[in-house]
Symmetry: C2
Amino acid sequence: MQNTNLEQDFLLFLKEIQGYKEALALMEWDSRTISPANALESKADVIGFFSTKIHKLSTSKKMGDFLKELKEKSNNDLLQEIIRVCEEDYSRSSKIPAEEYQEFVTLQSKAEIAWQEARNKNDFSILAPYLQKLVDFNKQFANYWGYEDQPYDALLHEFEPGMTTKKLDAIFSKLKKDLVALITEIKHSTKDNHTFSLNESFEKNEQNDFIVYTLKKMGYDFNRGRIDETIHPFEITINPDDVRITTRYDESDFRMALFSTIHEAGHALYEQNIDKKYANTPVFDGASMGIHESQSLFWENFIGRHPLFWKNNRDDFLRNAPKSFKTVSFDDFYKQINEVKASFIRIEADELTYCLHIILRYEIEIALINEELKVEEIPKLWNDKMEAYLGIRPKNDLEGVLQDIHWATGDFGYFPTYALGYMYAAQLYQKASEEIKIEELIEENDLIQIKAWLSENVHRFGRSKRPLELIEAISGEGLNPDYLTQYLRAKYGELYGLS
Amino acid sequence: MQNTNLEQDFLLFLKEIQGYKEALALMEWDSRTISPANALESKADVIGFFSTKIHKLSTSKKMGDFLKELKEKSNNDLLQEIIRVCEEDYSRSSKIPAEEYQEFVTLQSKAEIAWQEARNKNDFSILAPYLQKLVDFNKQFANYWGYEDQPYDALLHEFEPGMTTKKLDAIFSKLKKDLVALITEIKHSTKDNHTFSLNESFEKNEQNDFIVYTLKKMGYDFNRGRIDETIHPFEITINPDDVRITTRYDESDFRMALFSTIHEAGHALYEQNIDKKYANTPVFDGASMGIHESQSLFWENFIGRHPLFWKNNRDDFLRNAPKSFKTVSFDDFYKQINEVKASFIRIEADELTYCLHIILRYEIEIALINEELKVEEIPKLWNDKMEAYLGIRPKNDLEGVLQDIHWATGDFGYFPTYALGYMYAAQLYQKASEEIKIEELIEENDLIQIKAWLSENVHRFGRSKRPLELIEAISGEGLNPDYLTQYLRAKYGELYGLS
């Protein structure tokens, strides 16, 4: 009986933290979509206050006591799953002294402002001193957290628990070699895929109609979510029954809104289908950033850019765009939404070049954390690598090192998860082909079955399984990057007529 | 130096409470406008949690100690203003035992559900037992709060500090007599105002254009607010730079959206123009519910239904409704937006009959609190009074006692503020006529000057002045209901050709 009370108190304590997180998520959603311009400053203040509050509660002695006592005393299986996840967070967070964490948070906001100013003035030197401090904090955090092999492992763990620098080095060096080779072949291919354009006018409301139709097909539940407009599309979970996505319309290029919405809806399907028994606890979350990204990329690229997807949905698409695309053949349409073209900007990259953008950042991060590179040396190294991997050299830092916000927010170890997401997605797609004949389902436009397979194998577990554990349980092997290169070679080999 | 630290700590403590209030307001706004259907339950849970948190902090020993110590030690004038308001809240709230307040809050939510069910089944008896308990709680609260003359005074104070039952009795009995007489005269008037209709189609987006145009004219700041759609229009303050209003469109009756938006914008102008030195304290709020309502009614009725307002804006209005109202003359248009017609539903009532709806509820509230009436006797008394004052008798309780939610939320002493708002508005309008020649400004469509006068005399003070204090400072006399009856007699006498 005493145990039961303790268990209930603990769950109420977690629910309290979750209450703050729900308010915080709503305030963030509001700030990034519809908040009146002048209200942002005061809102940021409250957001900061709530973030600190959550951190304090999560690292409190109360939390520590709960975990210690319940781990020994409770024989409730669900509770032990929850305790495992809470313990992991607690043990990491409480290793950082409170004042140091506070300093880091303050530095983060200052660095974000500096990043914005550096962009406005196209001057990396404005950001550099902040970046140096953020790198130093990360090195210090790695020491606090501890690691067996390399300090970067401790950072990776924050976003991709269980992943190591050693594993990544092996995976990325192979992937880089394969991708560079494939891109070079395409560059020398004689087949020309650039003789037409999809930049025809497509009215916002009409785009939205097709997007809503597509998301419903995917199984996105509009009674438990909504779509709004924003500058940078994102997915955010307010509570288990309120998983929102945002998008951005470009009336002269429908690909912007369509593919980014399918992408964000991939994230949202994950969150909408985590088992509700984990609600109001930290287990109600994605297994890792990489697994989360695998879901968005799975839908955006493996489904949304699949020829069979368009075989079925192209008529609906054309009905929604009655004024445009009349003269574009199916083949041209398909080729154009899968065009390969080296780009300076990561978020505009195609399927083939995307991972090279990530590998470039990964290599720079490692060098920074291992003190083999100084912050002020980043721009040159960035541009050199860009030229080596993609054959283009940024004219300025806006096209280069200043394009992403992640380093300015102090997130080192985050970028690799984007490429991991790609590889997980390819591996999942391969397994789904075997188990549910996925191409037949795409051809029949029966996407709900695909969602059901992902929910059964990935979504429902939330954070109760670690990423590599999950992948192994599904595919019977560890992360295998070959599925991605095989998929890319088959698809783009055909598109560009490679032998 | 010690004092200064204490002052800063106190302000930080208030700011913390305000942080919760800001999150709470945003969650309420979200729940009432755009939240996905299934998310409401979890959201209500968090809203309840935050409300309790705010109540706990506001009645905490910490708050009591701050107030006691600072009242003696601080010689900062602004701080003393803040302390006065906090003390008033603290002394009232802390008189109610915490468990009893918690019981009351729980009862409130249950009664709201019962009210909804009673409405669905058109059966007052479902609500009755909850209502009895809520009345009992209110009687008990009145005892805790204390009063000199009548228990109802203690309840009134919650919404209209300084107002008493004695004053209200005198005001309302005179007002009732005057209004019933005027309505009877109109009923026997031979002038027919009902030969045409404004129920022509007016597309939502076009209505919205005219509404935004009007609100900008009034001085509503869209950089510090926004308009959204909802079932029941409302105004809500998220923070001093985020004051939102909502509206509801009826494409076959533009009056719904237009007048309710002007009404809510009247509330919003108040909140947008409170002196920012009071931000993050409870002084940043309206002086009372009555003064707040005076602002919305001032704009909705005294400006929005004024013939000179339409003299200027009718062309813009017609331009925004290109397909409709072509054959309606100015006179007919003006008469129709000021039509007098007895209605069962308070929120649909016209200027003349509105206060009678309030007086009816006021008389019933007094009888309940003074134990001269049992809850189950309300419906009959309601219908009898309706017939006596307005000459119509509700067919059922949906048209009668079940129409408003206020009693089901336990708010007794709230209804009178609606009628007080009317009288305050008339008194303010009278004073504005003398000081800024308000009709000339309306004729010149220079509404910003009117807003500036209200900001100078009402808005900026927030809760730092009490309602009657404010009215006296502006008009040199106490609340005088004659301005309202004079205004109504002049306007409707002319409209209905009374002698």
